[in-house]
């Protein structure tokens, strides 16, 4: 068996790279993270001509200048891991911009193959592309592919195997003009004196990056034995000017290549431009956007409803089955109250989450979501955040975990941090059962207005917190943004489903694991010391509740609510199930409602305080874990817990006393 061929798949965002990757590797994929950064790493394998081909899907980038974490990851992989072949997926309808990356890839020394994708779009527009001529001019194979149907993939894999067998370096690069070239050859001469550099880096590329003032590469070179000589040569150079010249030369080279290989390749006003005029219009943009979002949420809940009921039935049936068949009392309690009660309460929301993801995937695939972020930009800017922060805020209404994961598209670290930290205040679906219970019991016909008010309060707290963080712990201007507006496309169902599954299954795994463990801890606390009644005042849970009772007493709450709130840390919907246990209510929330209403310790004002507290207090365990993961340290996760608790306590206190004043009962 021959050694596997390693392939790096690269390309601009929105060129069909992921589709091609999915078609190539099918289900044989592995998703992880690149070490040290929160950029997703996708790997997969396929077989061709008796060889195993290992494909790594690099993040989509426009260039390799190390502007963002994505670009650093992509270029480091090609330089350090030395894949046998680099395949660049190119959008044929957009050759000019796509070939810019090709110019940079060519300098990295690895063999490059161009997968010419979306030729149908280009040719439908009247372009004709001569890929053989293009291959000659670029000195690299150019293969036509259609990612969605798999057309051309055999040819692409043939080319991969053939190129890998040759094992040659790619040497054909563009010239940068006499001045720059003289400088480059001087630098290459100096760099060549260090025996360590040449085996690790393509020297010409190092020299080019040095002239362009690349800070990362300056660090690499300053640590080498020739650092001083290099910087002496660079001493009186105007980096800005060279940088502009080099970028210019790349576009010049592309401008020289294109007319020889492509008949038109120059765009006129297209359908996409027309659609953009309408959907980003000053007056129509926001109404269209809101209508689409409202539709998305309506559809989410309407479609998810029967699935949710189905899951509830399954867990109800499982619970009864366990109670009937497991003889050992503690084991039945562990399985019924702990595992099924805890995990089941959370799995009920899975249909919602999957459907919301499916709809968002379709909107994303169509190219509209980028416009949504654009439309909301001015509003977000007023808060001190870039337009891109809007999508995570929107997703937060479903679940904060994927919402926080989706902040990865925000380049500026501070913008991203603020977006992450305010996200838990967006009222997720898990908090809704708590509102429904308390608002239903204490406000009757006004319940809807109370719940709507809570959502608004969450948004207000998020906005004010963003402003507060911006002016204190994370100062700075909201970074000016550049966002590509991908051309509108008909999204494919297969891709939307894969995208949905990728995000949704992460939620299942992460949230499921943590919630199971959390539920078991809660069950343990409620069941021991041995012999006490489950969830009673004498159990550990009761003791904890009694201990923290003084803290929540000013909010008009007693130990039972305190325990429920502590349990709610695992997942906020557990607040409801915990209260069910603690009030000793039988199955069904009608009984719990009566018990709550009858409890002299709980007033209407207190009920309002509970809802405000549940809305704002610390993120749930799953959200906390994702904050820890995405920010890379416990520092911000801890901050988020403390900040949330303080805000929740203060606002619940104010709510309790204001409501007490107006409604009586405080």
């Amino acid at each position: 068996m021959k050694k596997a061929i390693t392939v790096a798949l690269t390309g601009n965002p929105n060129v069909g790279k992921t589709t091609l990757f999915n078609t190539l590797t099918g289900s044989r994929q592995h998703v992880g993270n690149w070490p040290g950064v929160t950029v997703e790493k996708k790997e997969g394998t396929c077989e061709h001509a008796g060889r195993t081909i290992e494909v790594t899907d690099l993040p989509g980038t426009y260039s390799l200048t190390a502007y963002s974490a994505d670009e650093v990851v992509a270029r480091n992989f090609i330089i350090e891991d030395r894949p046998d072949v680099v395949v660049q997926v190119v959008d044929a309808s957009n050759l000019e911009r796509n070939l810019y990356l090709t110019m940079q890839l060519a300098e990295l020394g690895r063999p490059v193959i161009i997968a010419l994708n979306m030729v149908d779009v280009a040719e439908g527009r009247g372009d004709t592309i001569d890929e053989r001529r293009l291959a000659e001019l670029l000195a690299m194979p150019v293969i036509r592919t259609v990612g969605t149907s798999g057309k051309g993939l055999e040819d692409l894999l043939d080319a991969v195997v053939a190129i890998a067998a040759k094992g040659e370096k790619h040497t054909h690069t563009i010239g940068y003009g006499d001045n720059a070239e003289a400088l480059i050859s001087d630098l290459v001469g100096i760099l060549d004196d260090d025996p360590d550099l040449a085996p690790r880096y393509p020297l010409r590329w190092l020299a080019v990056r040095l002239i362009e003032g690349d800070a990362d590469i300056r660090r690499v070179v300053s640590g080498s034995s020739v650092g001083d000589a290099v910087f002496a040569r660079l001493a009186d150079i105007d980096f800005d000017e060279y940088e502009a010249t080099l970028a210019d030369k790349r576009y010049e080279a592309i401008g020289a290549i294109l007319p020889q290989a492509c008949t038109i390749c120059v765009r006129k006003m297209t359908g996409s431009d027309m659609i953009d005029r309408v959907v980003t219009n000053k007056y129509l943009g926001i109404p269209i956007f809101l209508a689409l979002m409202w539709g998305a949420f309506q559809l989410t809940f309407a479609v998810a409803e029967p699935f949710m009921e189905g899951i509830e039935h399954i867990f109800g049936w499982l619970g009864e089955g366990v109670a009937a068949s497991v003889g050992t009392e503690w084991l039945a309690s562990l399985l019924g109250d702990g595992v099924i009660g805890g995990v089941g309460g959370v799995l009920v929301f899975v249909p919602n989450i999957f459907i919301l993801f499916l709809i968002l995937s379709i909107l994303e695939g169509s190219g509209y979501l980028a416009r949504g972020a654009f439309i909301m930009d001015r509003l977000m800017y007023a808060i001190g955040l870039p337009g891109k922060s809007f999508i995570p805020m929107l997703m937060g209404f479903g679940c904060n975990v994927p919402a926080i994961m989706s902040t990865r598209t925000i380049e500026d670290e501070r913008d991203r941090l603020i977006t992450i930290l305010v996200n838990p205040f967006i009222s997720c679906g898990a908090r809704l059962p708590v509102y429904i219970l308390f608002a239903g019991v204490f406000f009757g016909r006004d319940a809807g207005n109370v719940i709507f008010g809570l959502y608004v309060l969450g948004i207000l707290v998020a906005i004010l917190s963003a402003k507060l963080f911006r002016s204190t712990v994370l100062p700075g201007e909201s970074s000016p943004f550049i966002m590509e507006m991908p051309p509108y496309r008909i999204p494919t169902l297969k891709n939307a489903l894969l995208n949905m599954w990728e995000k949704g299954s992460t939620y299942l795994k992460k949230a499921g694991g943590i919630i199971l463990i959390g539920s078991l801890i809660v069950w343990f606390l409620a069941s021991f010391p041995a012999g006490v009644e489950y969830g009673s005042e004498e159990s550990f849970a009761g003791m904890i509740g009694k201990t923290v009772e003084p803290l929540v007493a000013p909010l008009g709450l007693d130990w039972k609510i305190a325990v429920a709130l502590i349990f709610g840390f695992v997942a906020k919907e557990i607040v409801v199930s915990s209260l069910g246990v603690l009030y000793g209510a039988e199955e069904g929330s009608a009984a719990l409602s009566d018990a709550l209403l009858a409890d002299p310790a709980l007033s209407t004002a207190g009920a309002l305080a509970v809802m405000v507290f549940v809305l704002l207090y610390m993120p749930c365990v799953a959200t906390l874990a994702i904050i820890r993961k995405e920010t890379g340290s416990w520092r911000w996760a801890t901050f988020s817990v403390i900040y949330g608790l303080v805000v929740a306590w203060v606002l619940a206190f104010v709510t309790f006393h204001l409501a007490g004043f107006f409604l009586g009962g405080a």
Binding site: R97, D248, D276, P480, F481, E484
Partner: protein, 79 residues
């Protein structure tokens, strides 16, 4: 032909970039996207906080602040 910031020209106007007046990282980013001196740009929409421009066959949304830093010479001045 006088230069003016990209943010000030009317939608539908074609222009040629004369200068990119930004810090190192941002300028490099703009260059990579094709917003280099001599490049042809078209403003697609410009009726809200940010603008959409078309350059090198692609469309990008730029915040107004960023568009201020790109100086262009309009091909014809729209009224």
């Amino acid at each position: 032909m006088a230069s003016c910031p990209l943010s000030l020209i009317a939608p539908g106007t074609k222009a040629i970039v004369t200068m990119v007046n930004a810090g190192e990282g941002l300028r490099r980013r703009l260059y990579d996207l094709g917003l280099v001196p001599e490049a042809n740009v078209t403003v697609v929409t410009a009726d809200r906080g940010s603008i959409i421009v078309s350059v090198a066959g692609c469309r990008y949304a730029l915040s107004r602040g960023m568009a201020m830093k790109i100086l262009v010479a309009p091909e014809m001045v729209a009224v």
